[in-house]
Assembly symmetry: D2
Homo-oligomer: 339 residues x 4
Amino acid sequence: MDLGMIGLGRMGSSMVRRLLVAGHRCVVHDVRRESVEWLQRDGAKGAFSLSELVRQLPAPRSVWLMLPAGVVDDTLRDLAALLEPGDTIIEGGNSHYRDDLRRAAELRERGLHYVDVGVSGGVWGQERGYCLMIGGEPGPVHRLHSIFSALAPGVSAAPRTPGREGPPSPAEQGWLHCGPNGAGHFVKMVHNGIEYSLMAAYAEGLAVLHHANVGRHPPKADAETAPLREPRAYQYDFHLPDVVEVWRRGSVIGSWLLDLTAQALGRNPELSDFSGRVSDSGEGRWTQQAAIDEGVPTPVLASALYSRFTSQGEADFANKVQSAMRFAFGGHLEKKGGG
Amino acid sequence: MDLGMIGLGRMGSSMVRRLLVAGHRCVVHDVRRESVEWLQRDGAKGAFSLSELVRQLPAPRSVWLMLPAGVVDDTLRDLAALLEPGDTIIEGGNSHYRDDLRRAAELRERGLHYVDVGVSGGVWGQERGYCLMIGGEPGPVHRLHSIFSALAPGVSAAPRTPGREGPPSPAEQGWLHCGPNGAGHFVKMVHNGIEYSLMAAYAEGLAVLHHANVGRHPPKADAETAPLREPRAYQYDFHLPDVVEVWRRGSVIGSWLLDLTAQALGRNPELSDFSGRVSDSGEGRWTQQAAIDEGVPTPVLASALYSRFTSQGEADFANKVQSAMRFAFGGHLEKKGGG
Amino acid sequence: MDLGMIGLGRMGSSMVRRLLVAGHRCVVHDVRRESVEWLQRDGAKGAFSLSELVRQLPAPRSVWLMLPAGVVDDTLRDLAALLEPGDTIIEGGNSHYRDDLRRAAELRERGLHYVDVGVSGGVWGQERGYCLMIGGEPGPVHRLHSIFSALAPGVSAAPRTPGREGPPSPAEQGWLHCGPNGAGHFVKMVHNGIEYSLMAAYAEGLAVLHHANVGRHPPKADAETAPLREPRAYQYDFHLPDVVEVWRRGSVIGSWLLDLTAQALGRNPELSDFSGRVSDSGEGRWTQQAAIDEGVPTPVLASALYSRFTSQGEADFANKVQSAMRFAFGGHLEKKGGG
Amino acid sequence: MDLGMIGLGRMGSSMVRRLLVAGHRCVVHDVRRESVEWLQRDGAKGAFSLSELVRQLPAPRSVWLMLPAGVVDDTLRDLAALLEPGDTIIEGGNSHYRDDLRRAAELRERGLHYVDVGVSGGVWGQERGYCLMIGGEPGPVHRLHSIFSALAPGVSAAPRTPGREGPPSPAEQGWLHCGPNGAGHFVKMVHNGIEYSLMAAYAEGLAVLHHANVGRHPPKADAETAPLREPRAYQYDFHLPDVVEVWRRGSVIGSWLLDLTAQALGRNPELSDFSGRVSDSGEGRWTQQAAIDEGVPTPVLASALYSRFTSQGEADFANKVQSAMRFAFGGHLEKKGGG
């Protein structure tokens, strides 16, 4: 079918390529002219303005936005002004699901449909397919069936779950209509909240292994620092690329993230090309805020999020407060330098 | 080769079966006579005492212990008295790595070798193979090569990590000599620490989805309880078996644990056959204690562990202290019943 | 001066009594007729409707609301319709500061002033005085100076902070104009976030002492449970009322909460009159949500909040998910009963 | 009575001065000759070797050690060789309570008594008195009664707990015989675990207030970073010295730590003379390890401890692992610079 795609960054352009391969017709637009031209060479129809994009699509139109969260609302407003009743806008970026609720209501007044899609898959999606979590009215979601099928990995991407029978459901193909508007980004939000914690779990465990030789060079004891009680129990030099590799087969903790970690550690066991600063992109934050509204305890998810904040330097003031207290009651001047 | 196996519970007996299939000769012993007899039918040689087991093995002997942690030391002592210099004991249970260090030193004085093996794979291992994390001297570990190979899943169990070349290393087959004594159980300990957190991460995320309909029936506000600020944002009825299923394909959070969760939710979406109590078996605790000795922050791992303690009722006294404070400063009597 | 008070629960009625003692004139209203009558006996003027209350106050009027969060907006609307430009409404309940921002803007359009006040002090406030955290325009806040002074504990409630000089500032008397609208409830929100964690910190520490005799009756070891490694190190029977008492003098952790804990433990060292369920009232939640918006890590505050959620039974589904996983990969059936 | 004091650092020398003022006779020793000479000027008898100290004390001797944890065992061994049966060694430093158990057993074989004392009070103790948590046999503890009384703050240091009657108990004077050997340091250990969390609770709350103006200059949104959803809700410039000051009177969170924080913020509201690195001295770590042995959840205490580890740079490797994963699945290069 015909699909307009606005936003041709890493994700948007890869998705278009996957759709083209599957035989869909894509009209593409981006504020960067060269991004459009690159995809033209791959078979997409280029559009150098929103109106040009709209003109090239047959009604009822389906236009997919794959934009940074900060510019979605402006683009939506401009695009909606060009569309006709019955057309559908699909928002596939990192939107907050509450924005989906608001936007869907606004567009509904103009006869437009809104579908929110949480997309997971990253840079591997063009090849592996994308996991799609979808919210919206049944009609427009149904109409986009073949697009979702083409983007999703397909049923062969994982062994069938025992107990599942009959023709594979969309969920088994890698796309799911999760519920009404906002449902897609809600599920994606929680997905990312989980993702942060899975990453942190592996990372913390590997750090414990990485420092398992601390007994060789125990930190110097002073009035402030307690001596390590059993240095001889911390004399291990683990080769992390091999440890991660062995966990990939037969263990309970095998996963795709672990596969990727094996690759990264294989290239550079000390990971010295990274600084230790970990960004966060919104969903992890919103998952916490939803958990709190629901009154559901999520201490593991929160810990992973706060570790990222701390890596960004945001614990500094709180730490200074504690040092100030320590100085006030104990005359402690903090040591300089490492551990 | 010939191997003695002591302890024929779920894990020990499955491992023997896998070894028999691979052509190894196993002499098996358990305090429960019928456990021995069952494996005799599968081709193992039965031994109804430790001395009978030792007698049936050619020197240098290799005897694998697969016992509850609480009885390992007694069995080791009795067994060591029956063995000869050059023999090897393999401890494959849930031992603390510090016990490995102590035992290896004690056995070394008698000319015996000690190899510690952390085994992951659970009830699926007989079919999938076991992930083996091994500590000990190079000689005895090398001599057991064919046993480890037979137990491990083999290289085909996962796609090869890009960058790995040449004949597959043991790690790529699912077994790894991690270092000197204790190294095997150290790596297994951290493995389980990670496992707890991966489980908790999925579980917490699914709980946020499960309660995403809290806006339909918001808890009654009173002087104590703040009203839910936006009930309309929590009106989602997610079908968790499908959500988990869709995540299995193409998403960043795919894993074997997720596959198992899909099965469990498929059978019973409310999981009403479980009570909410989650046991812990030692390794998660020891991982924290090691992290603390090393001075490495592991907030995510700790949160998962403490959630298990709490599920076991162990937060009750601390909660009562807080209720007592609330009553003391605010006259608050805690509400009865849910939420 | 003259003040109207609406809401004569535990807090509102005590505040009126403290104001009456200080010589202020209070017109009081509550939906429960008897609450009004009780305060009439103490010298307040009773009002059995909002309009009666407004009629009895000279312009420009000051009306203080001390109501459950869920009914504030309705009362505000009804009251605003009866007031005149130049009048001031003071909201002293557990409002979210974002509601203050909204209400202040709405009332401003009608010429009315809005002052938000976070009040700490609980049932002891009538005697000790209340700590007041205030947000609003300078004019109305200034006009209420004598009310705030009468409610606050006064400068003698704590030793002067070294470095403070000259006549005591309002902060040194126990009330503070924190900033524009919302600032009062923002500071109170964070105050309560801190309060939850202080409570949890004492509670967790006392729980560690309470269980320091676990080595006398170590849990039975089985395949699931690791034995306690050093039972002889956990043989202490601490008498918590005395431990808390000794901490009250000379230690770094002395506090008013500790004083109250000493009283509670003195009455009942096992705290057996509490069930282990700890309510939360909103501010702890909002503090987290603000921290997340700000990107500031607050792991300690979050842990205390989530422990309360868990005490309310809200971790049950997540725990069941974990038990289901454990059963799926290990065939583990959770143990019944304690620890 | 006569007391030997070994270790004349900040704590030891202040304690001697307080004892001298109370009329006790102190023989003092330190490896730094000038530390001995300073206290000689204050009335102590100087000893420039352990044997000189022992010679100057009448039997049965009482010798108090106030030394860095790393040198206690060596000093104990040398001292014990000089003492006679019936003498008592008091260890008042930051010892692990398990070391107390071991030492007490060793000294008992030589007829020597061992008393472990956890001391809180910091640099203020000389003036305010020290909170003393004591473990050991009843006899030696009883014999030291007057020393403990002189060091403790005394009953007037806090208002009497309602319900306490009769002559004030030692706990009400600020010293407590907590139980057999190790009990003193166990209680002190937990005391410090609590202390870390109280400090972190205030610190995190103040950080939330400190960043409440983030809406004025919201971080730039990009594909990675979600825009702040309501910048107008974060426009507050709180003056923290005043906020902390107002909390000192009438609020639920008043404490001595808060008093000290008010002083520190009063001197430098930005706390710019601190770097953000917070040391830890052992007890916080041991409290966690005890909690884990006991199976008692202490998520708040753990979070405070791990925040300190992180401030020391110990999360770096785990953070790099997460960045490596992010790069592997999403092609994300971490941003440089702040938040």
